[in-house]
Symmetry: C2
Subunit: 443 residues, 2 copies
């Protein structure tokens, strides 16, 4: 439930009051709203965390070394894999349920906090030793259509509120209107158009950032002009993908969680708008994840380095401010994994010598698009040729790096870090591919 | 796919040709169409069978002792439970898929052999070591809505035909028009009306037999008159339940498999018509099966005895001619488990001293309805009082027994049986509650 979630805080408040200590939290993500968790860490209530994304006070506290053990940063698919493999054993899953009935059938499409498919919770509900539906809306039995069914749910708990809809759905996300970002988006769409993938059966995913949404709109136009019918759009679904479904540009949507109310509404009434669990979405060890069927994936970046490694986990200060989510999963799965980013941000260069933390290995990234043009991974020779024939400005990533330095107001020094490891980066298959070190308390 | 299935025969033909021997078959049911299995038993290709229902040549052969090991007769819910518990390990699940795509997404709603939800196969697909989708219809990727998803499917095999739609769907099932059966149906409906359960939220399941369908129609009328809105109808769904959904008499349907094309069509387009796996349907060891939420369940019987035990597994000859399916599951789960049957059939009494084989223990049965009236289980005192107040003819089951004998053209002797056990009756929780013995070859 992202930054609107009130379930985690309520559960931990009770756990703390009951004197529970040494708990391990395996939330799919942690947001600024989860600030009370900092005190629970300080008091020894929580001693271990694994998650696919963290930002806000908890991320800051972990970066400063408050948690006695390293946080395990997973991918969405890797988290599902770990749960299914038994590596990550969930003792109790507390599932924020926008609506539930007396037997534990859960729907994400109804209730005050309706948020669409409960893709991340589906895996927990299937594998956890005990499953508790926490809801603020009890509907008549049976609540259909069902997202998580009564056969998986042990308890239903009614609370005043499970969350703030304004924080659950990002809602106000709009395509960028900034000219430089629009130029980047247009170039990214041209890369897709030139890739040879934009034919009938095309499949596509983007994040919900401003550049991503602008790319969607350029791709929408291109599909319309070429009379291409795509097979599916996937994601974190926004109203922009819904528009493309309804226009017939995609035959279906796979949705692990909705990003806005228009997506929730579409999920509620359109059977082509299909829920997917985090496992179906991105688990590399099941018998075929949707992410592995993607043609084009549009990715963001906090930093990209000369080896095309991408960091969306830590900032230039070395502090944790995000995490993979599905970044590494979709990059690995998609035929065309495209990073779209400005050269500089907040005064600092985003193309760097070597990323502070590897979220997604460069081997998964096909090309990086900036306002300067497109840098293609050295092994993607055929793609490079296609882009050149299409007339795109293809350049070396080191040229982007130089330009980024030139544009930057300051070239930051490598952040001061302690030796202590405060986080491990777990790739989707369970390998540790990097670590995160403590940042100094002063920073 | 019932008596239209061609997948089992095709798979075993290949297995036999490749020289495989000593196989164990865990089909959800076996029908006359599966006659070739008899030769596979004779040749040692198949040495063990477990199933929830068997009729036709295979059942005859097993009854005569052809199989070297006793057949394990399960319930639908018990089969799901055994698979989930790891008692019944499925090495390879061959799933008859009316439609599939290249990645293994399966839909029961499309294709030439469209049959609706694949409730029984869902459990196998989730737990089998390998899952093979066998289909005669490959659709564009992705095939949505999905019944069994690509994350569970290892292989997709295209064959000329997976089955005969005429045998897959019973299709021509109609409510009885026979006056005696109609009278029984009317009485059964009155029992439901008198039970106190026919109020808002009412839930209901019947089989697809002629008496059952006639009861549905009487119940439909009663719900209309009382302005009752039921919560759900369940089953094996027929067009008659669909009518009640569409009339607003039920808010939803839970469907493990469709019995006719009208039900398939409803499943395809109405999100209130919800698929349920065999586990959600009837597994007693999950966290809440639908069968356990039933108000009224209408059951058939080959024999009922003085202890209310019901046999739907063997005939008066002692030969296997059916099986529990969901009989024992729904009888145990429903608040009102009602057996509706004529006193005699084929010249013999159906109310007997002691059933030849216990499919459903009498403790699960609340009342038996025949053309004579209603016999109520001794422990259901409150129900008995309600029926008497309602003016129904309540009588002792021994009176029904006497009348059945009087009506019967012949009172059959206990069938001649050998000592050898050819089948064990496994209750839904895994207990063996009865055995089936060999019938003489002469019979």
């Amino acid at each position: 439930m992202r930054n609107g979630d009130q379930v985690l805080n309520q559960v931990l408040a009770v756990a703390s009051a009951r004197g529970l200590r040494d708990l391990r939290i395996a939330a799919s993500s942690l947001f600024p709203v989860h600030a009370p968790l900092v005190d629970h860490i300080r008091n020894g209530v929580v001693t271990r965390i694994c998650t696919a994304y963290m930002s806000g006070p908890v991320a800051d506290a972990v970066s400063r070394g408050l948690l006695p053990t390293p946080v395990v940063m997973q991918t969405h698919g890797g988290r599902a894999r770990a749960i299914e493999a038994g590596e990550l054993q969930i003792d109790v899953a507390f599932v924020g349920a926008p609506a539930a009935d007396r037997c534990g059938n859960i729907s994400g499409a109804e209730g005050r906090a309706a948020c669409g498919p409960l893709g991340y919770a589906m895996v927990d509900a299937q594998y956890a030793r005990r499953v508790v539906a926490v809801t603020d809306h009890i509907g008549d039995y049976p609540l259909v259509p069902i997202d998580i069914s009564q056969e998986q749910v042990d308890f239903v708990v009614l609370v005043d509120s499970i969350g703030d809809p304004a924080g659950i759905l990002s809602g106000s996300t709009r395509p960028t209107t900034d000219p430089v970002s629009l130029q980047i988006a247009e170039t990214a769409a041209k890369v897709i158009a030139a890739s040879g993938l934009l034919v009938d059966g095309f499949s596509f995913q983007t994040g919900a950032g401003g550049i991503s949404l602008a790319v969607s709109q350029y791709v929408q136009t291109a599909m319309r002009e070429r009379k291409v019918q795509g097979s599916f759009g996937a994601g974190g679904v926004t109203g922009y993908l819904v528009d493309m479904l309804e226009e017939g540009l995609f035959r279906s949507l796979f949705d692990v969680q909705c990003f806005d109310l228009r997506a929730v509404e579409s999920y509620r009434r359109d059977s082509r708008h299909q829920a997917m669990s985090a496992s179906l979405y991105a688990n590399p060890h099941n018998r075929g994840a949707i992410a592995d069927q993607l043609d084009a994936m549009l990715l963001g970046a906090a930093e990209v380095d000369l080896d095309f490694n991408v960091n969306v986990t830590t900032g230039s200060s070395g502090r944790i401010l995000g995490g993979s989510g599905g970044h590494a999963d979709t990059a690995a799965g998609a035929k065309l994994a495209l990073v779209a980013t400005r050269l500089v941000s907040g005064g600092g260069p985003k193309i760097v010598e070597s990323v502070g933390c590897i979220t997604t290995p460069g081997e998964s990234i096909d090309a990086v698009v900036t306002e300067l043009g497109v840098a293609v991974h050295a092994e993607r020779v055929e793609l490079r040729d296609r882009l050149l024939r299409y007339g795109l400005n293809v350049l070396d990533i080191s040229v982007m790096r130089s330009k980024a330095i030139a544009l930057a107001q300051e070239v930051r020094a490598t952040p001061e870090q302690g030796r202590r490891i405060v986080g491990v980066m777990e790739y989707r298959d369970g390998r540790v591919i990097d670590v995160i070190r403590e940042v100094s308390h002063a920073r």
